[in-house]
């Protein structure tokens, strides 16, 4: 399957999400490096190419290796790299790398292995909804399979050795993507973020570059990677995320009981703009879709299902729009296409 084939699909991790309102998906990432080998950021092209080839060979030991597609960054256009980034299959950092850097993605997009990002290997496992345990099991399994063909840099004291000391130990970063419009609207998001940060977890906006959260999407992840077994890190994160979900659900209930008319107005206006605008920037679209998504959760928009909106979140992004159009578009042309795409979708409902 080519990258264009990927575009026709909806991303396995969005495809079958359990009915869990605020939760989008769960992700587990493992950082691994090869023994006696310079880390990618400091390595020569020769070393980076050798690492890529070693990983290619190691994939032979992965039981269902035939279901993985692979691309090297230096053979992809900027647009294709952006597409992979928008689908959460590669990081911004990998998209900007060249020689020896690349990615393996399995067909349902639930597993991806980035090669020569900050570390030699960044293995990722994505699951729809709240499913960290399963994401971990799948990542662990893939890690075991790859490890048969690779010698990892490991110390009995510091665990897996990584290019940045913040990842040392388990090399594990677990995260959950959450949609938290209730907490944003009730202005309770800041105290929640502060509380979560205080107990050693990180909260980031999901879209956009900085910490500013477009579309009221947030990612909560562990920061500590050393000194705890993987399952303990995951269980801790899971407990906190469940609490945040509780807060979000309560915030929505309070909004509906005390300010139902305002919530209705908020969702209705979002719908009105989405259904009628002729120009729409990404940030605006994300925020309006966020309102619509909450409307679906609260039963205010009976014709719509959340999954369709979740797909739109992906499809309205610049690289996706341009791949779909088959041409490179100027920002204004993109805003026109974006508005068209959303209008068409809503007319079909």
């Amino acid at each position: 399957m080519t990258l264009d084939g990927l575009l026709q699909r909806h991303g396995g991790w969005l495809e079958s999400g359990p009915d869990e309102g605020p939760v989008i998906s769960s992700r587990v990432r493992l950082a691994r490096n090869l023994r006696d080998t310079t880390f990618p950021g400091w390595a020569s092209k020769e070393v980076r190419n050798r690492v890529w080839n070693e990983v290619v060979l190691a994939f032979d030991g992965v039981p269902d290796n035939g279901s993985f597609l692979r691309w090297r960054m230096d053979e992809l256009s900027t647009l294709d790299r952006d597409l992979l980034f928008e689908r959460h299959l590669i990081s911004r950092e990998l998209a900007e790398r060249q020689t020896g850097s690349g990615v393996f993605v399995n067909e349902d997009e639930c597993r991806a292995v980035m090669v020569n990002e900050e570390d030699h290997i960044r293995l990722q496992s994505l699951q729809p909804g709240m499913n960290l345990q399963k994401a971990w099991e799948i990542a662990d399994e893939l890690d075991n399979a790859l490890e048969q063909g690779l010698s990892y840099a490991f110390s009995s004291k510091l665990g897996y050795l990584t290019a940045c000391p913040s990842n040392v130990g388990t090399g594990l970063r677990a995260s959950v993507m959450l949609h938290l419009p209730g907490l944003v609207l009730t202005e309770e998001i800041k105290p929640v973020i502060n509380a979560v940060s205080k107990i050693g977890l990180a909260v980031r906006g999901l879209w956009g570059e900085g910490s500013e959260a477009s579309g009221h999407m947030f990612q909560i992840s562990n920061q500590i990677t050393l000194g705890k077994p993987e399952l303990e890190i995951i269980t801790n994160l899971e407990q906190i995320v469940l609490e945040v979900i509780e807060h979000e659900k309560n915030a929505r209930l309070r909004l509906m009981s005390k300010q139902e008319i305002r919530v209705h107005d908020h969702v209705g206006r979002a719908y009105g703009i989405l259904a009628n605008a002729a120009l729409m920037a990404t940030g605006e679209a994300l925020d309006l879709l966020s309102a619509l998504r909450m409307g679906v959760d609260l039963g205010l928009t009976p014709n719509m299902v959340r999954r369709d909106i979740d797909r739109l979140f992906i499809r309205i992004q610049p690289a996706h729009l341009q791949k779909e159009a088959g041409v490179v578009l100027s920002p204004e042309e993109r805003d026109i296409k974006r508005a068209q795409l959303v209008r068409k979708f809503l007319e079909g409902k």
Binding site: N33, R35, D36, T37, T38, F39, G41, W42, E118, D140, D143, N144, E147, Q148, S151, Y152, A153, F154, S155, S156, K157, L158, G159, Y160, L161, A163, C164, P165, S166, V168, G169, T170, L172, Q223, I224, T225, L226, G227, K228, P229, E230
Partner: protein, 168 residues
């Protein structure tokens, strides 16, 4: 004499301090440059080669600033916060240990171990975990549990100490 990092002829010879131990270092031109040694500066290179340089200690300190495997200078590591290779963990151990403790509130891995690692690594890891349980037991004054853990640790240590024949 050959370069420590490759097969080329070494042109720079010096003393380096690694983990508090003095070590002789011999480098080719290319690797000397990679280590941040300025070959164009007539004073330093001549001085080093002729052994006419200032206080030995000073040089030793200067030269301890790079990783012998990958050549990353401490300066570079400080600037980026990223290491050059797995060996950098040994090279920059002193400052890394502190940074890692501050970041993770721990200095001991308790997670997964690659299957390729030997029995020794697994035993060390097992003992580290028991040690942590022991400290926790003592902290909550569960001395019965602590005693059991202490015995377990002792047993593991004895079973895995290579027999040097001095006993019995």
């Amino acid at each position: 004499m050959k370069c420590d990092l490759c097969d080329k002829e070494a042109v720079v010879h010096m003393t380096q301090v690694v983990n508090g131990e003095m070590k002789e270092v011999h480098l080719c031109e290319e690797h000397a440059i990679a280590q941040g040694i300025d070959l164009n500066s007539p004073i330093s290179i001549t001085d080093i080669l002729m052994g006419l340089s200032g206080p030995q200690k000073n040089i030793a300190h200067e030269l301890s600033l790079a990783c012998p495997r990958c050549g990353m200078a401490r300066e570079e590591f400080r600037k980026t916060g990223r290491l050059g290779c797995p060996d950098c963990y040994k090279t920059f151990m002193a400052e890394l240990t502190m940074a890692i403790k501050a970041m993770h509130h721990s200095g001991q891995h308790l997670g997964k171990i690659p299957a390729r690692e030997g029995v020794q690594t697994k035993v060390k890891s097992k003992i580290a975990r028991l040690q942590q349980d022991l400290e926790a037991a003592i902290a909550r004054e569960d001395f019965e549990k602590a005693a059991k853990l202490r015995d377990q640790i002792k047993k593991h240590r004895e079973e895995n100490t290579p027999d040097d024949g001095s006993k019995k």
